[in-house]
């Protein structure tokens, strides 16, 4: 499945982009994380969250092709 993924902050910096389309072999968050960490090894060293349709996704969520997916480094608001 094809997914449009947004990156923010530190992760956008590491990825060198703020958005890209990726091709995922399975519609699970685990598969997404594995693919991201293969593309960018440093990701496995930090705690990052996956948001789907603007909500933090549980690890059990199943992804759909039209989902708005974002990869979020630790928050620093305030």
């Amino acid at each position: 499945m094809k997914l449009n993924v947004k990156y923010f902050g530190l992760i956008a910096e590491w990825m060198g982009r703020s958005e890209e389309q990726i091709d995922l072999w399975e519609n699970s968050i685990a598969a997404l994380r594995q693919q991201l960490e293969t593309n960018c090894r440093r990701l496995s060293n930090i705690t990052y969250q996956v948001a789907v349709n603007q909500k933090i996704a549980s690890e059990e969520l199943e992804l759909s092709e039209n989902d708005e997916v974002a990869i979020l480094p630790p928050f620093a608001g305030g």
Partner: protein, 147 residues
Amino acid sequence: MSEKKIKNVFVQGPITPEKIATSIAHHQVKTNIGGHDIFLGQVRADEIGGKMVRAIDYSAYQDMANQAMHDIREAAFSKFDLTCMHIYHSLGEVKAGEICLFVFTSSVHRKECFDATRFIVEEIKANAPIFGKEVFEDETHVWKENK
């Protein structure tokens, strides 16, 4: 489901003392208010690895952050008996000493606004997807992380 319009909490650059004064002045017509509690987050010139932070450059996943702020606002209104509530957060560069967060709650009695402002600030820090690049005087940077 609530169909209230999602407000935009973000302002470009620092939040000025004048903006805060204007906001306070606007509440003087609400004569049922007995207390206001205001929290201001200010950028610190922290020393990190021997270098001084000159500014924080804020970015956000804006749609999600505004939704998160909306949820925080609704939660605060349902938990506390508030008359008014305002939240503003900076985007872009905010220099050390400048203000990046303005949380303002008002209530008939003081207890409610004290509890509410604290609740809102903790929720923002934990749940709003806002990112901060701490920029040093030599223009290198590190990424801030809330504790």
